[in-house]
């Protein structure tokens, strides 16, 4: 980093400073700051790290680990249904509930406004939150997978690259929904409420509470195309080694595009 004009005396009116935005150091510092905020918000860590493990344990001690599904290379119902639901919960909680509540708090309390009067733009905070959320998601997924395999003998996905790709796409879809929640919520409280409602609505219609075949047909069909349901279906296919339905990938992709565009249009900085 150069400071070419630092020696110019203050008597010259428009002391030319190096142009360009904040550097790598600022980005690194902001990501570290967001990471500290997330880690120190202990309550926010319970859901993405604790709830998936709890669900794994509840199903892991059931007969789900013994029901072998035909055409899945010897994988069980636990592998093909439970593990995908748990991973969808991790990306959903981090993206739809936790991230928007941070951003809404930053807006309400004036953090974004304060940053807007520095060379760092408040948009940098959004990006830093997404980076930290991605790390948090990866950690949550890793913990869930370790518990699932070590404690309950879960099998790896039949198509690991597909599973990874689907997971990344699902995370992007959930973050986009989260950005939309942060954009429209008038207060931190509203962001939390809205995020939870969206998360549970997606979850309930997408298989979080068990088989969706008990739901009315139209509800189940819609739920399957929402980010949670689509993620669960596509991940299940990747685990079983079945081809992933294009409709589910399209549903996730649509969520990414539509929610991002709406969020970008509706986001208020103050």
């Amino acid at each position: 980093m150069t400071t070419t004009a630092a020696t110019t005396t203050s008597s010259s009116p428009a002391r030319p400073r190096p142009t360009g935005g904040p550097g790598v150091r600022a980005w690194g510092a902001l990501v570290a700051a967001e990471a500290r905020m997330v880690v120190r918000d202990t309550a926010g860590l319970v859901m993405p790290f604790g709830m998936p493990v709890l669900i794994l344990v509840m199903y892991g001690i059931s007969e789900a680990t013994e029901i072998v599904l035909p055409g899945s290379g010897g994988r069980t119902a636990f592998d093909v249904f439970v593990v995908p639901v748990v991973l969808a919960i991790v990306v959903g909680i981090v993206g739809v509930v936790n991230m928007p509540s941070f951003l809404a708090t930053y807006r309400r309390t004036g953090v974004l406004k304060r940053l807007s009067v520095t060379p760092a733009s408040p948009a940098m905070v959004l990006v830093a939150q997404v980076v930290v959320s991605a790390v948090q998601t990866a950690l949550g997924v890793a913990i869930a997978l370790v518990v699932a395999t070590a404690a309950f003998g879960a099998s790896a996905p039949a198509s690991p690259e597909v599973a990874l790709g689907v997971l990344a796409l699902a995370a992007a879809a959930m973050y986009a929904v989260g950005m939309l929640v942060a954009a429209v919520a008038p207060s931190p409280n509203a962001a939390l409420a809205l995020g939870l409602v969206a998360f549970f609505a997606f979850g309930a219609t997408g298989g979080m509470f068990g088989d969706v075949s008990n739901l009315p047909e139209p509800v189940a069909r819609v739920g399957e195309m929402m980010p949670f349901g689509a993620a669960v279906q596509a991940l299940g296919d990747a685990w079983a080694g079945q081809p992933v339905a294009a409709a589910h990938l399209a549903a996730l992709g649509t969520a990414v595009v539509v929610c991002s565009l709406l969020a970008a249009r509706l986001f208020r900085w103050t």
């Binding site: 428009a14 700051a33 309390t109």
Partner: protein
């Protein structure tokens, strides 16, 4: 070129169908190295004015130049040279004082040592304390640290000592004085007279969104046409018409040996000389000058401490 130049700033708000004028045709300039006070009662438009200068709020009319740059068009360039402490701003609550200062330091290429600033604002003991655990006055001082950490050429400080105890207030004042000595330009929003009289080279007096006066603190007092008063006590009645003839004296009141002489000019000197010449023994002599408080009262027609709401008009256009 002035360090800060605002011309004809106007800002309206629409509330419940009525259009409120928060800032009405406000112009001000601050020369390089000058501390300019922006003074007025609550609701006078002080914060709205500096927020427009900082580029936080877009004026409905008028222009702003900070070191010759437009805070909206030349946003990035202005951000590098302008330090801002906003009223009621909040920060990342779970970060410590030092973490915040270091974070904000990374936003600037050139800047000041965060630890030194923290110390100078009396926060050394709170260095490792989270922002959310600090008292209001400590949070206020953190905001000042962050406003200065980029070594700005122009600083906006909005109500910088509100809620501070006297010791912390003096620390902050010393920091502002060192800023001025370092050649920075400071816009200081305040409704505290003592602060303004001590720190400011010139003052813009705002009332109900308009500039009432723009002068040095002493000039404001003089311009308000306020008299001085000389007070003293005598053991024997004053000789008749002794002081009435003294230059500058407007009025003499005497009751139970207490004398109050009202007038202007070099009043104390003239009265003392006259008393000595006449052989009158005066004790407890003191001079009372008008303060900025009195000047505001005279210029705006009400005391500075009054809460005044912004003027309301019923025009439809905003």
């Amino acid at each position: 070129m002035s360090a800060v130049e605002a011309r004809s700033l106007t800002k309206h708000y629409r509330r419940r169908g009525a259009v409120k004028v928060a800032v009405d045709d406000v112009s001000l300039t601050a020369a390089e190295g000058e501390v300019l006070g922006i003074l007025g009662p609550n609701g006078a438009g002080k914060t709205t004015t500096v927020e427009m200068i900082a580029g936080v709020r877009r004026p409905d009319h008028g222009t702003v130049r900070v070191v010759g740059l437009d805070p909206f068009a030349d946003r990035a360039a202005v951000r590098r040279v302008l330090g801002v402490q906003l009223q009621a701003g909040y920060l990342h609550g779970a970060l410590t004082v030092r973490e915040l200062a270091r974070l904000y330091r990374t936003f600037y290429r050139d800047g000041r040592d965060p630890d030194v600033l923290i110390e100078r604002l009396g926060l050394a003991e709170q260095r490792e304390v989270r922002y959310e655990k600090l008292s209001g006055g400590q949070q206020q001082r953190v905001a000042i640290v962050l406003a200065l950490v980029g070594d700005p050429r122009v600083v906006i400080l909005d109500e910088l000592t509100t809620g501070l105890d006297p010791q912390a207030r003096r620390q902050v004042w010393a920091v502002v004085e060192s800023l001025r000595d370092g050649g920075a330009t400071v816009l200081l929003v305040s409704h505290q007279m003592e602060e303004v009289e001590r720190l400011c080279d010139r003052v813009v007096l705002l009332d109900a969104g308009r500039v009432v006066a723009h002068d040095t603190p002493a000039g404001l007092v003089a311009g308000a046409g306020l008299d001085q008063r000389v007070l003293f006590q005598v053991t024997e009645p004053l000789p008749a018409a002794l002081l009435e003839a003294v230059p500058g004296v407007d009025r003499v009141e005497e009751r139970d040996g207490r004398v109050v002489v009202t007038g202007s000019g070099d009043l104390l000197q003239e009265v003392s000389t006259a008393l000595v010449r006449a052989g009158v023994v005066a004790t407890g002599t003191r001079l009372e000058r008008a303060t900025l408080d009195d000047a505001f009262l005279a210029l705006a027609g009400r005391p500075l401490g009054d809460d005044t709401s912004v003027r309301t008009t019923t025009e439809e256009a905003a």
